[in-house]
């Protein structure tokens, strides 16, 4: 194993911001800051318009945060990447079906669920991390598909 591109200070402080956002969302709105669930609910038949508005607002907030990063530190985003489109379609479908079926992603199960001491979330995180490690091994070492 070779350690490369490690950014502990930036990543740790970004993590603190993400954690603060999740804590404030629970304190103010009483909700889990799970991005897949919030986004899914915009299109799911949720009962009220109010239910849809806060979800859209949250997603717009994330997109604005992303826009700020693109303007201030474009190298820290996917801006200059050239990605295989079939690969990204497959990835998007798997992430969509997987997070919908498993009820959460890195934020809902990862940050929030683990902090609620949820057994379901611990199971989810160990499973998706394991699947990620295995998939990356198969891609890079067996199929010779280059990393970004």
């Amino acid at each position: 194993m070779v350690i490369e591109n490690f950014t502990p200070l930036l990543s740790g402080s970004g993590g603190l911001l993400i954690g603060s956002a999740a804590a404030l969302f629970m304190l103010w709105n009483g909700k889990i800051a799970g991005i897949s669930g919030i986004t899914k609910g915009i299109f799911a038949p949720c009962p009220t318009a109010q239910e849809r508005f806060w979800r859209v607002a949250f997603v717009v907030g994330i997109m604005l945060g992303g826009l700020g990063t693109v303007l201030l530190a474009p190298d820290m985003t996917a801006l200059s990447y050239s990605m295989s489109l079939p690969q990204m379609v497959l990835a998007g479908l798997l992430v969509g079906v997987g997070t919908a079926m498993g009820n959460g992603c890195t934020s809902g199960h990862g940050v929030c669920g683990l902090s609620r001491r949820s057994d379901r979330s611990l199971t989810s995180v160990l499973t998706f991390m394991g699947a990620g490690f295995v998939t990356m091994y198969v891609m890079t070492h067996l199929l010779n598909i280059a990393r970004f």
């Binding site: 194993m1 990543s11 970004g14 993590g15 804590a23 530190a73 992430v95 079926m101 890195t106 998706f128």
Partner: protein
């Protein structure tokens, strides 16, 4: 209204955190998952930093009778370790490695107008749609279209979809 403004603010803070942490860079995510290659441990620090806040803050917040802007806490009620949980996480982890994106960084990266991101996000939404329609089809098959059991189970499914994660 306050609930919508707070959602916007929290989303903005979350998005800024994703940017500063480096998680909008798909290479850093793939680098973390490449354990046996050139390994980038940064993602562990992001999770650690985030959980350092929520691990301590959540129990304190749950001591309150209710949140500041809402009548109650909206928390998942399902505690079963079931097949959809595990199968879903397996599919998600696979897609996460293939694309180097999970839902948050994918949405944050829409501002790049990168073609890969612009096909990833609609594909993810199509995945949500596919899961919902297949699940509702399975419920209809099992209980009989229009039956009381079908209506009840679909309502329970939809309520859960709106509540959790």
């Amino acid at each position: 209204m306050k609930e919508i403004l707070s959602s916007l603010f929290v989303g903005l803070l979350f998005g800024a955190g994703l940017g500063i942490s480096g998680m909008m860079d798909p290479a850093k995510v793939q680098g973390f998952l490449d354990l046996t290659g050139r390994w980038d441990p940064s993602l562990a620090l992001v999770m650690g930093g985030a959980m350092a806040v929520t691990w301590i803050a959540y129990p304190l917040i749950f001591k309150r009778a209710r949140p500041v802007l809402a009548p109650k806490f909206f928390l998942p009620t399902n505690t079963q370790i079931d097949r959809p949980l595990v199968l879903g996480a397996l599919l998600f982890g696979t897609g996460w490695a293939i694309g180097g994106l999970c839902p948050g960084p994918a949405l944050a990266n829409l501002a790049t107008l990168n073609a890969g991101v612009l096909v990833f996000v609609p594909s993810m939404l199509a995945g949500f749609w596919l899961h919902r329609n297949v699940t509702e089809w399975q419920i209809r098959q099992r209980t009989g279209q229009g039956s009381a059991a079908c209506v009840a189970e679909k309502e329970a499914f939809e309520a859960e979809q709106c509540l959790v994660d």
